[in-house]
Amino acid sequence: MKQIIIALGSLSALGGIFGLLLAWASKKFSVAIDHRITAVTDLLPGANCGACGSAGCAAFAEALVNKESELSRCVACNDQARCEINKVLGISSLQNCGEQQVAVIKCGGGKSENKFIYKGLKDCRASAGFMGGHKQCEYACLGQGTCIEVCPFGAIEMQDIGVPVINPELCRGCLKCVQICPRNIIEMHSKKKTVYINCSSLEKGADVLKKCKSGCIGCGKCVKICPVGAIKLENNLAVIDYTKCINCGKCVEICPTKAIKNTSLIKSVG
């Protein structure tokens, strides 16, 4: 019994002494940290995607506070956070906010016929270098899921048709998928404008039809129906001018191949 008491006593005493020592040291040797840095760090997305050019969100917060960087460099922040960060930094809330951008994969071509059975590495970059990809369509998503791998927010999921889809609610617009896609079919657009052309093929309508049932065939129906004239045909592909688009969704309904999609309808597939 005595030993137990000695052990307990001595350990508690030691603990107490060291605790006091630590408390003293933390006061004595404390380094002044700008509280704004921690506040901004907390408001940033915390994905450390590096798109801003800094080594992670904490470094970016420090750069922001020291006025070495600009908030617009962060593509992953949502509007609310932007305003709050600006508040912390003492900048009028409208400045440098920018509109939040999200990515969309412009291919609905899961049904695009295969040229051959691809048995190589599961990586789009490898697949693209292989005889120009295994899909008949040169603009088709290769479906190996490299964008899913690089997405720091888990916003991209594979659909049953073999083409991934980006969940606009989770996407923070960090551009990683855009940069890595070897086919360059991932594009950014404002999160508020939910309509997009789900095809990237620049081929003539007849050629598109031969290869794929869900491609833009450049028929021009959407151009005609658009009430604000926001859609035009460029190189056999419909292009939406988002400065004019009013999200009415008429083009989505009229498209004969269902090649125009509305992201507000995309829900998590998993």
């Binding site: 040229k115 051959f116 048995k119 190589g120 590495l121 990586d123 970059r125 490898a126 270098g129 005889m131 120009g132 295994h134 791998e149």
Partner: protein, 432 residues
């Protein structure tokens, strides 16, 4: 101790399938497809238009750039269309279609040249360039550029190794056209102005070695026929130079940086044909082989002949074909269709049946070190593979991915079925 390099591995060669089959002329095709890129370098520029009549050997596309090569019609007939067509290397390429008139009339320029011994170096190079000769071993680098090195060289090696399993076309050429090859070597020797000339042949082709040695002795030439250890990839340029001369081509450099020019034996022969017979490169010898074929053969075919015609000629057996490969099994390219033309770099067509394929699931690396042992470039393939798998391409840089010659040996020996070469290729794509 036989001459060789470190690493490498002896593979089962499967050469017996076509080893003793003499080269046969493939019947004239009804239509040929001639891609404008059959070489490394800029595409050739079209000289003809649809509806033009051409003869066998007529130049139909010209090389306008320095590193490029012209294309010649391989049959006589009419240009029917000039469109994008499937290409065995690039996937798709602009090609000239020629419909045969069945006559095979030769271009009047194709005449035997009697005075070729007096031609100067520049004249010879001009002939080689306009004959559209490229390396026939597979890489298809324009030969005229190769034979005009920017720095002094002292040795010339003829690559007659043919280390790829299954292929026999170079071997058959050596047996059947021995003296023409030697004449070609003399021509190239004059162009390069070198004293040391070697013919590198693997020791498992004693027939070829004997034939070449006899011919060299008969003509009393200063050519060294070197017997090399049978080991893949003995025919890779850098490994061949190491084996024959003991020199290592510096990393990232070309053979002429080590003072050497290496040429494939079939290329040498086409140089002879171009100079002595003024015959441009419009046909070549290929090996059509594989256990899926009933009658594998060595064929002399016109460039632009479609794979499917050649395959039909050799009769597919009862086994279902799962792969059509252009080239050998180690470095050849699997094709997605048989509607492809033979191009200048096609050394063989290999058909694999379903049971010969090697599609296994990748397993984790067990660090057995086989890939390290066999790597002819002395790299650490397993490390490159792991870096690529973990997508840590920056780390891979430390393991010299750009020195990899993609011989495929690491993937071949890997007991865990790892796709090492593919991963290294991906690393190269990403790091580029």
């Amino acid at each position: 101790m036989m001459l060789s390099f470190c690493g490498g591995k002896h593979l089962s060669s499967y050469k017996q399938l076509t080893k003793d089959k003499p080269i046969k002329d493939f019947p004239l095709p009804k239509q040929v497809v001639l891609p404008l890129i059959q070489h490394i370098g800029a595409p050739a520029e079209v000289l003809v238009k649809v509806g033009d009549l051409v003869k066998t050997g007529t130049k139909i596309a010209e090389a306008k750039k320095l590193i490029s090569s012209p294309v010649h019609s391989s049959i006589s007939g009419t240009v029917s269309k000039i469109v994008d067509a499937p290409h065995p290397v690039l996937g798709k390429c602009k090609s000239i279609y020629i419909d045969s008139d069945g006559l095979d009339t030769f271009d009047p320029a194709i005449v035997k040249r009697n005075n070729y011994a007096n031609l100067s170096k520049d004249e010879l190079l001009a002939i080689i360039k306009s004959a559209g000769i490229v390396g026939l071993g597979g890489a298809a680098f324009p030969t005229c550029v190769k034979l005009n090195p920017p720095c002094p060289i002292d040795s010339f090696i003829i690559n007659a190794v043919e280390c790829e399993p299954y292929l026999n076309c170079d071997f058959r050429l050596m047996l059947e056209r021995t003296e023409d090859i030697l004449q070609g070597i003399l021509l190239v020797k004059r162009i390069l102005n070198v004293d040391n000339v070697f013919i590198g042949i693997e020791a498992d082709k004693p027939q070829a070695i004997a034939v070449m040695r006899t011919a060299v002795r008969k003509l009393n030439l200063a050519i060294d026929v070197v017997s090399l250890k049978t080991k893949y990839p003995q025919g890779a340029e850098k490994q061949l130079i190491k084996a024959v001369l003991g020199r290592e081509v510096p990393s990232g450099k070309l053979p002429f940086d080590a003072g050497v020019v290496v040429n494939n034996v079939a290329t040498i022969l086409s140089v002879y044909d171009a100079v002595a017979l003024s015959k441009p490169l419009y046909e070549r010898v290929i090996t059509v082989t594989g256990k899926a074929l009933k009658e594998p053969a060595n064929l002399k075919v016109r460039i632009g002949t479609k794979f499917k015609e050649i395959i039909a000629y050799c009769h597919v057996g009862t086994k279902p074909v799962s792969k059509i490969i252009m080239g050998g099994p180690m470095m050849g390219l699997a094709q997605f269709t048989d509607d492809l033309p033979v191009i200048k770099g096609t050394s063989g067509i290999l058909l694999l049946a379903e049971d010969e394929g090697c599609e296994f699931e990748q397993q984790p690396c067990i660090r057995c070190g086989r890939c390290v042992d066999v790597c002819p470039m002395r790299l650490l393939p397993y490390a490159l593979s792991l870096c690529a798998q973990k997508r840590s391409f920056d780390l891979a840089r430390a393991y010299n991915p750009f020195d990899c010659i993609e011989c495929g040996l690491c993937t071949y020996v890997c007991p865990a079925n790892r796709k090492i070469v593919e991963q290294i290729k991906l690393t190269k794509i990403v790091l580029k």
